[in-house]
């Protein structure tokens, strides 16, 4: 099955539906496994012919998986830059995968929960992403997908070091567990650094919305494991799963504090953010993320009543540069995008609230 990319544009991935456990704070639970074929060099030393052969083998293998649902395969090498960026914004491929050279592709299931990246940093990167805090079932699912692929190809595996990866930081399990959290109240109350510090002590990494080196836009933070060797997959999943409720608790307490101690300030901040998003005539991606973050918290706290969480979640992604251009159906300059983004936000927010002037309540 090969859907054109356009099919994805107007939907959003299941991880954005905002209904999983703790989904007021936890956006998504994501797990990835790094795997390589035993009979090819890693990407760094792979010739064009090697890459093409790896791509063919894994494309054919992923097409024959029984248990994963329909997978659509996209030839990433053949995609336009805008389309690659679009997949990055949806978290279906990594930035590195978008920017790499040579034969490569990605297989995506229709709910966008499973993504199989071929010829990323490793030959195969399996990713499973669930909405809310749902790590155990994400692990069960990715484990099953991995088993199925492993029954058809031979992975590079070392009796002592485990699954061999292009970078020694991933060797062993090849596992990265990553939970994306929305922590606006910890940011407002300036407690977020304290959180970073305590996470760092237990070897967990903190990153922004789009991963490594990316800005902590919209108060989104991804918490993930650093170590991959010397522990079982279940332990690594558990380590992250155990810390998340603590972070949720901190964030809830910070929100309670804001509601109790500075309710007017909070309500004002949230309402102004909503007002700007509903009425602005041009707006940057950065400002949008910043304001949507306040609105999202306002919806969670019942300060804004007529917008659904899933709509806000979707706006975070749909107002990203490539999404805007795909939705509009044409390439736009930065300043045109700012006008288009404001128009899109006005339309979507006016539609949700059922009147033309959503800031009136």
């Amino acid at each position: 099955m090969n859907l054109p990319l356009e099919e994805l544009v107007h939907r959003s991935g299941e991880w954005l539906r905002g209904t999983g456990p703790e989904s007021d704070i936890v956006i998504s639970s994501r797990i990835r496994l790094a795997r390589n074929l035993a009979d090819f060099p890693f990407i760094r030393r792979a010739s064009d012919a090697d890459k093409a052969q790896i791509e063919r083998i894994l494309r054919e293998t992923t097409a024959k998986l029984d248990d994963v649902g329909d997978l659509a395969y996209y030839d990433v090498q053949g995609l336009e830059g805008l389309d690659r960026q679009f997949l990055v914004e949806r978290h279906l491929i990594s930035r590195e995968h978008a920017d790499n050279e040579g034969a490569r592709g990605v297989a995506i299931d229709h709910s966008e929960r499973v993504s199989l990246m071929v010829n990323e940093e490793d030959h195969l990167r399996i990713q499973v992403m669930h909405s809310g805090l749902d790590l155990d079932s994400a692990w069960a699912e990715i484990d099953r997908v991995d088993d199925q692929i492993e029954s058809k190809v031979t992975y590079a595996f070392h009796p002592k070091l485990g699954y061999l990866t292009a970078c020694p930081t991933n060797v062993g399990t090849g596992l990265r567990v990553s939970v994306m959290l929305h922590l606006p109240a910890l940011v407002v109350t300036r407690q977020i650094e304290k959180v970073f510090r305590s996470l760092q002590k237990i070897s967990l990494a903190v990153r922004g919305l789009y991963g490594e080196g990316s800005q902590a836009m919209g108060d989104f933070y991804q918490i993930s494991n650093q170590l991959t060797l010397g522990r079982t997959e279940e332990d690594l999943v558990k380590q992250v799963a155990d810390i998340v409720p603590v972070l949720i608790d901190y964030e809830r307490k910070a929100r309670e504090f804001l509601v109790k101690e500075s309710h007017k300030d909070l309500h004002d901040r949230v309402s102004r953010a909503y007002g700007i998003l509903c009425t602005a005539q041009k707006i940057s991606s950065e400002e949008t993320m910043h304001l949507l973050s306040s609105v999202r918290m306002g919806v969670n706290l019942g300060l804004i009543k007529d917008v659904e969480m899933a709509s806000i979640n979707q706006l975070f992604i749909h107002t990203q540069p490539a999404h805007l251009q795909k939705l509009r159906g044409m390439e736009l300059s930065t300043s045109d995008r700012n006008v288009e983004r404001a128009m899109y936000l006005r339309q979507m927010l006016a539609k949700r609230s059922g009147n033309g002037d959503p800031a009136a309540n």
């Binding site: 390589n36 060099p41 030393r45 031979t154 595996f157 070091l161 399990t173 650094e193 490594e212 060797l229």
Partner: protein, 177 residues
Amino acid sequence: MKCQKCDKLATFHITELTGGPGGALVELHLCEDHARQYLTQADDSPDEKQSMAGALAQQLQVGQTAEELSRLDRQACPVCGITFYEFRSKGRLGCPHDYTCFEKELMPLIANIHGETEHIGKTPKRAPQQTENRTKLIRLRREMKEAVAAEEYERATELRDQIKRIEQGLESAAEEK
């Protein structure tokens, strides 16, 4: 330890991979303010980053002369041809066999990163078959490409036949199961 940007105590120790092809491993030691600045900054600015070269060089310098180091750097994997220098400057290995041929250098690095050196997680349901033949394929394909580039067509043909024989052997072994 002091922050790498100022005189305050470094309370954040960040290990990070840089994006993009040829990205390397980065270690940062920062105080609270600079950590916040770093974690909220826009995309990679290269001067912020040290490479894995730095981390490894530090590790290797202990007890090694410059001569020993340069000899180590010239060592190459017989299978994929990557030199140790290429690995430590780019932070990525060339093939599965590197873990064997650079074992002496990699194990301390791995212990440093993970605090452990032994995998206790999942193992493939079927034991990996014919690992040697698979590794050999990596080498033969590379040699064939080099033979073609050197216009040694006779040798390239021999290599191609050898590759085919091994590939067919692996395929029929897979079908028998």
